[in-house]
């Protein structure tokens, strides 16, 4: 039942955790605000739900919140009901049960997205502090315990008592609050010598506005214009670049306000939905964007509705007034906007991820007419590229290298070392190895190998380091042996703990080796590697086997334009092979295919009719090249 809420968890939820004991600044407008404390008492199972607080800013909002139909007690808070002129009927008013569940139970996130949905800022949810949540949880646990008592053979009293102790302790723990935590542990970024920019955990991947894809081009030209080393181009040439992008982006990059306004409908139809959504949300980005927001908020509202109703069940509490105030938001103070933004962004995150629509341009690399690069050419080309910041990189590396002997010491004292930071650490480690580890037994494990497994690491320890012959039933047995052998080197306690020490070694070195093994998505996924492996494998086979593969490859290429080509069925294939005098029995062919499959030359797939189909998982270009080459050889 320990559920220690962490700051990290809160950030994950996107909750804006206010420091406790401080009221929100309501931004004293001309309108008198009333602050009410609603004490909800609902029923959750057999016990009353713990009260939750919701601060409401105007009577209107209260009315909206407390629709007739549910139960609830309204207690006057600081402002007092009467002062606010709240209708008496509301005081015994009713509130939807879902608020209860959301606001104080489980998940603050949903409470936020719901309550703050009321965009005109009439309603603010005050979030339950960590301690309160904890209390609820432990309370509830206790109750459950009591309920289940009859069934239990255990001494439950003791358990309940323990739970109480826990919550007591937690109260005592309040003294070490989050502030404290941030001050002591989270302050890393601020006062660590190099990390000048104060990147707190929240700032890194906070729920911030996702940007439209077209923005990239814009930013690119923006970046291009920032003062650099020797920038000698005229800015007027730049709009041409983005303008060359196809339709959807085109309208975008020609960021002419007037034009946009006149072609509003068109704009709506072509711009990504999310983008419009974002623009309509009060934004601090730039003036031009606020202009957009005013212009397209209506359309947005409509689509908004359909979208939400279909995709988001949580949002069923939506009121019609929700988006009405969006255009007006320009006038409100920035601070408030910021508060709002967080909640909207949380919403947007889920919206963006719930829709399967893809809102990027349709351009493909194929149309770019760019020759695909293979690994080798890539390397050659990269070598031509001028290296940047060599002096600085060298200095950085020297800093790290000065720590070598310290690492060695700590390694000997039973700690393990983790290096982190941007950039390849391979060279650094290699240097460490050659300079300090020459005299000791050590094992280099290249973790970036795609095929690496625990077993292969352990095997290389036992077989090559310990000269052990034989296999093991399980990795754990193997581990036992290793431990036994090393007993004189390590002691028991140190074996069980890694004692990681973290060292930041940002090097900015390119991850050359590492990425070369990555089966990279990209462009360089070229045929040449595949082709060489193809020829290599096939040359080691018998002529018959090669013939079999050729047959399949030819059939494959014949059908390359057929999009519904399922592959060659085994029976057909067998027929063809027989006819070509390549095999004489079903079994020989199967054995041959197994070999192909082991070399990943073919893939089998079962069709809907249960028939086995054979496919070659190599792209057509490579296959053509291969066949041509084969023909030459013959």
């Amino acid at each position: 039942m320990h559920l220690v809420p962490t700051r990290a968890a809160a950030t994950r939820l996107g909750a804006s955790c206010e420091p406790r004991g401080r009221e929100r600044n309501w931004g004293g407008g001309a309108r008198a605000c009333c602050s009410l404390r609603l004490q909800f008492r609902g029923q959750l199972g057999a016990r009353p739900l713990p009260p939750c607080k919701v601060y409401v800013r105007s009577p209107l909002a209260v009315r909206r919140l407390l629709r007739p139909g549910a139960r609830g007690a309204l207690l006057p808070g600081k402002g007092g009901c009467k002062a606010a002129g709240l209708p008496g009927a509301l005081r015994g008013g009713q509130c939807p049960a879902s608020y209860l569940v959301n606001a104080c139970w489980h998940c603050r996130l949903s409470a936020m997205s719901q309550l703050e949905l009321k965009r005109n800022k009439v309603l603010e949810a005050r979030f339950v502090a960590d301690e309160d949540v904890l209390k609820h949880i432990s309370d509830n646990g206790g109750v459950k315990v009591r309920k289940d008592r009859a069934q239990l053979a255990l001494n439950i009293k003791r358990f309940v008592k323990k739970l109480e102790n826990i919550s007591d302790d937690d109260e005592a723990q309040e003294i070490l609050e989050e502030q404290n935590y941030v001050a002591v542990l989270g302050a890393c970024a601020e006062d660590s010598l190099r990390n000048g920019s104060s990147a707190g955990g929240g700032e890194i991947y906070s729920f911030q506005t996702p940007k439209r894809s077209g923005k990239m081009a814009e930013l690119a030209s923006e970046l291009a214009q920032t003062p650099g080393k020797n920038v000698t181009f005229e800015s007027s040439q730049y709009p041409e670049k983005p303008a060359s992008t196809p339709q959807s982006n085109k309208k975008y990059s020609a960021s002419n306000k007037a034009q946009l306004k006149s072609k509003k409908n068109e704009f709506v139809s072509t711009t990504p939905y999310r983008l419009r959504k974002r623009l309509s949300a009060p934004s601090l980005r730039s003036d031009s964007e606020s202009d957009y927001s005013a212009s397209c908020s209506e359309e947005e509202e409509e689509e908004d509705k359909d979208h939400k109703e279909t995709s988001d069940v949580i949002l069923d509490q939506k009121t019609p007034s929700k988006t009405r105030a969006a255009p007006a938001s320009k006038k409100t103070p920035a601070k408030k906007l910021k508060e709002e933004m967080t909640s909207n962004l949380v919403e947007e995150y889920f919206e963006a991820h719930s829709s399967s629509k893809v809102l990027t341009s349709d351009r493909t690399l194929q149309k770019l007419q760019k020759r695909k690069l293979d690994q080798q050419t890539l390397l050659v080309l990269l070598n031509k590229a001028p290296p940047a910041f060599t002096a600085e990189l060298k200095e950085l590396n020297q800093q790290h290298e000065s720590l070598f002997s310290k690492w060695m010491l700590q390694l000997h004292l039973g700690f393990s070392i983790v290096l982190y930071g941007l950039g390849s650490k391979r060279d650094l480690l290699e240097k460490f190895r050659t300079s300090l580890l020459q005299d000791s037994v050590h094992l280099v494990v290249n973790g970036f190998f795609p095929s690496i497994t625990v077993r292969s690491i352990l095997n290389s320890i036992t077989e090559e380091v310990l000269d052990h012959v034989g296999t093991f039933r399980s990795p754990l047995d193997q581990l036992d042996l290793i431990m036994k052998r090393f007993k004189e080197v390590w002691d028991q306690a140190k074996q069980s703990l890694y004692n990681w020490l973290w060292y930041e070694t940002t090097t900015f070195s390119p991850y050359l080796e590492e990425t070369s093994y990555e089966n990279s998505l990209l462009v360089q996924q070229s045929g040449s590697l595949a082709l060489s492996s193809l020829t290599h494998v096939l040359h080691s086979l018998t002529p018959n086997a090669r013939g079999i593969f050729r047959l399949l490859a030819q059939y494959h290429l014949e059908n390359k334009d057929n999009p519904s080509y399922p592959g060659l069925s085994f029976q057909d294939f067998y027929q063809r092979c027989r006819e070509a005098f390549l095999v004489n029995s079903d079994l020989t062919l199967r054995a041959q295919l197994t070999e192909f499959r082991d070399h990943k030359l073919i893939r089998t797939k079962r069709g809907t009719d249960g028939v086995e189909y054979l496919l070659i998982p190599v792209d057509n270009g490579t296959l053509t090249d291969f066949l041509e080459k084969e023909d030459e050889d013959m």
Binding site: M1, A153, L154, A172, Q173, I175, V184, L185, C188, G196, S197, A199, G201, Q208, P210, S213, M216, L219, A220, S221, L223, A224, T226, G228, T232, F233, T245, L345, A352, S356, V358, T360, S361, K367, L378, L381, E392, L393, S405, Q410, F415, G423, D439, S440, V441, L443, V444, N446, I461, S496, W502, Y503, E504, T506, F508, P510, L512, S520, L522, V523
Partner: protein
């Protein structure tokens, strides 16, 4: 080497050769003064501390283990007697089970279990099997493991006599409960005459991982049938609550278990003891500064609840201190330190002179002495000796007064200075505690303590002051005793005061008229306001003032002490970086603001912006932040080349030429692959030539 190394995932290098640790200690450090000595004292200190922690652990576990052992002995006493009593036990066929509630600090459990099985092996039975959830993915593995460990135990127990028998059975045996019981019969038959009291305990630990459920379910169903053949005792280790047994095991299984609960000490108490024994004592010369201690405690409270890790952190700070502070050579027992002072080199003397605390000290001296301190090494050494002694005395006093103050503050409502002594310790270490608001409010609250409470606290304090080498505190003890005596005397006087109040009370009761009542009430109020403080209140003030004076004179912050740098480790930053690193922040900073690492002026830019001369990966990263869930590679590439060509200042016409384009293309590919390796993007099949972004938001 590079080629062979790259072609294989693992590449071993074999060239063993003995080496000397001290070399690493001295290497790479400019001021390698006395490194050998420093290393030796570091090792010695750690050894002492380690043994101390082990001792603490042992003591803390003692009670628990004793209870467990008693339970185990009892559980199968029937089996030994083999009477009808035992028969009825058999009918119910319940397996005696001890449920060990250990708390959430899972990392520490290993040690606990290890010592537990050792204790059991020594005291109860040689047949102890300890199983871990992760070791037993299936029932088969579990039984194998069980058998294996049992056989090993067996060999250990009587290796000389029956090795042959074991060898036969070890591998061939079909791993089942049936064979297990057969084996047991076999063993007991042979060894029966010698050790009839042998019992078997299989202590299995499992944490809340669902796959274990299956294992135990099966096992218990089977084993219940065999319970009459061999005595089996289960021990479960439980992290959360005993309820979990019932949730994990179906009723049919749990009904076969006869569960008894054992509660281990909470990790917080454990930590408190460790801090008390390691930090709040003059036994060890090494001390942690406030910030370092805060870091360690916070890691404990917010991350793992592991005392083991706390101690590891402590070890790291010891190593760091001795490694980085050349003067740490003086961080040893006082007598030894004094001896070492005399043999300090000139460089070390200069090191002393450059200590901030020592400079403060020098400035407070008269000018002749200042000169002498700064020029004469021998004089400096003399002074250093006395200063070290002062520091030692300061610590002795500090801890005593700290405990005394803690007794006071724990009695206060809401604990303004913290409930635990460690919080008070932190408060006092960092700054002058009497200047803080919390202290102020604590004193205010102390002035309102009731008499019996105050007396009790004073008695406790007196005990604290008497117990250690209380030569400095004889005066204090006298004073405290005097206070206690005066409180005693107050008893008699108190009666008079009571009389007065009683009379006024009576008066109140007499009046029934509203007007008169009001009048008397007002009068009462008036009298109260003007009334002098009672004797008790006077005395209370005196006591509180006395405590206040103690605090002010003895609980000065450690940083103010001269030569505190010798024994205090205060680079909390290092510790935090190494123990609680923030790799994501480092990555983020490197990508967003490369200037932090590459000190090149062209990279300097405003917050949120990035120079276009930045490394490729930074530009690509920055561009990708502008995208939503999916990124079009073509757009990305185009944007990238726009930025890069702008930097190179190539004529836009020339951009079209293949050569430049190819290189940029290659650079782009590299940068994107790097981002993929770092886990920012992944290939997506939703649309051709698109990649999916794995982070949300940004910039």
């Amino acid at each position: 080497g590079a080629e062979t190394q790259d072609s294989k995932p693992c590449h071993p290098y074999l060239k063993p050769k003995p080496e000397r640790l001290t070399d690493y200690f001295s290497q790479g450090k400019n001021d390698s003064e006395d490194s050998g000595l420093r290393f030796a004292s570091c090792q010695l200190l750690w050894k002492q501390i380690n043994s101390e922690t082990e001792k603490i652990q042992e003591e803390l576990n003692k009670q628990l283990f004793d209870n467990l052992i008693r339970f185990l002995r009892q559980s199968h006493s029937e089996f030994q007697t083999k009477t009808t009593e035992w028969m009825c036990r058999m009918k119910s066929s319940e397996i005696p089970t001890a449920a060990l509630v250990l708390g959430v600090n899972v990392t520490d459990h290993d040690v606990t279990f290890k010592s537990l099985s050792e204790v059991l092996q020594d005291n109860v039975t040689p047949y102890v099997v300890s199983l871990q959830a992760k070791e037993c993915p299936g029932i088969k593995h579990l039984l194998q493991k069980l058998m294996g460990q049992l056989m090993d135990c067996y060999v250990d127990a009587d290796s000389s006599e029956e090795e042959e028998c074991v060898n036969i059975s070890q591998k061939k045996i079909r791993c089942s409960m049936a064979s297990l019981s057969k084996w047991y019969e076999n063993v007991t038959k042979k060894t029966g005459s010698e050790t009839p009291s042998k019992k078997r305990t299989s202590s299995s630990r499992h944490w809340q991982s669902p796959p274990v459920v299956v294992i135990f379910k099966d096992m218990e169903i089977i084993s219940s049938q065999h319970i009459h053949e061999f005595p089996l005792v289960l021990i479960f280790g439980i992290a959360t609550s005993p309820m979990i047994i019932h949730r994990l095991l179906p009723h049919s299984v749990s009904s076969l278990l006869c569960i008894e609960l054992f509660q281990s000490l909470s990790c917080k108490e454990h930590l408190a003891t460790v801090i008390d024994k390691l930090l709040l004592t003059t036994q060890f010369p090494f001390k942690l500064s406030e910030k370092v201690l805060q870091v360690l405690i916070n890691i404990f409270l917010y991350h793992d609840f592991s005392v083991q890790n706390f101690i590891k952190g402590f070890q790291l700070s010891i190593v760091e201190h001795f490694y980085s502070q050349p003067l740490s050579v003086l961080c040893c027992q006082l007598l030894e330190a004094k001896k070492r002072v005399t043999s300090l080199s000139h460089n070390q003397c200069e090191n002393i002179r450059s200590l901030p605390s020592f400079r403060r000290y020098v400035e407070s001296q008269v000018s002749e002495k200042q000169i002498a301190l700064l020029t004469e090494d021998s004089f400096l050494k003399e002074v250093t000796q006395t200063l070290l002694e002062d520091l030692h005395i300061y610590h002795e006093n500090y801890f005593t007064v700290l405990r005394c103050l803690h007794v006071f503050t724990t009695s206060l409502p809401k604990y303004p200075l913290g409930k635990q002594i460690r919080e008070l310790h932190c408060a006092c270490l960092g700054k002058s505690v009497w200047e803080t608001e919390e202290y102020e409010s604590a004193i205010q609250l102390l002035r309102m303590l009731a008499k019996d409470e105050l007396v009790a606290i004073l008695q406790k304090c007196a005990e604290i002051f008497i117990s250690p080498s209380g030569k400095q505190f004889s005066n204090t003890v006298e004073k405290l005793e005097e206070f206690l005596a005066r409180f005693q005397n107050l008893e008699a006087e108190a009666n008079e005061v009571q009389d007065v109040s009683v009379s006024s009370q009576k008066e109140l009761q007499k009046k029934t008229d509203l007007y008169h009542l009001q009048k008397t009430l007002l009068a009462l109020k008036e009298s109260k306001r003007s009334k002098k403080l009672t004797k008790f209140e006077m005395l209370r003030f005196e006591v509180v003032d006395f405590i206040d004076s103690l605090v002010r004179s003895y609980l000065a912050p450690a940083e103010m002490q001269t030569l505190n740098e010798v024994v205090y480790f205060n680079t909390a930053n290092t510790l935090r970086e190494h123990l609680n690193a923030a790799p994501r922040i480092a990555l983020h900073t490197a990508l967003n603001n490369p200037y932090c690492y590459l000190k090149n002026q062209t990279l300097k830019s405003d917050v949120g912006c990035i120079s276009n001369t930045a490394p490729d990966i930074c530009i690509v990263y920055k561009l990708h932040l502008e995208c939503g869930r999916l990124i079009n590679l073509v757009d990305w590439l185009e944007a990238f080349s726009t930025v890069v060509t702008a930097v190179e200042g190539t004529d836009p016409e020339a951009v079209a030429t293949d050569q430049v384009d190819e290189i940029i293309h290659a650079r782009f590919i590299r940068a994107v692959s790097e981002l993929e390796l770092l886990g920012f993007i992944k290939p997506s099949k939703q649309k051709t030539d698109h990649v999916a972004r794995l982070t949300w938001g940004g910039c």
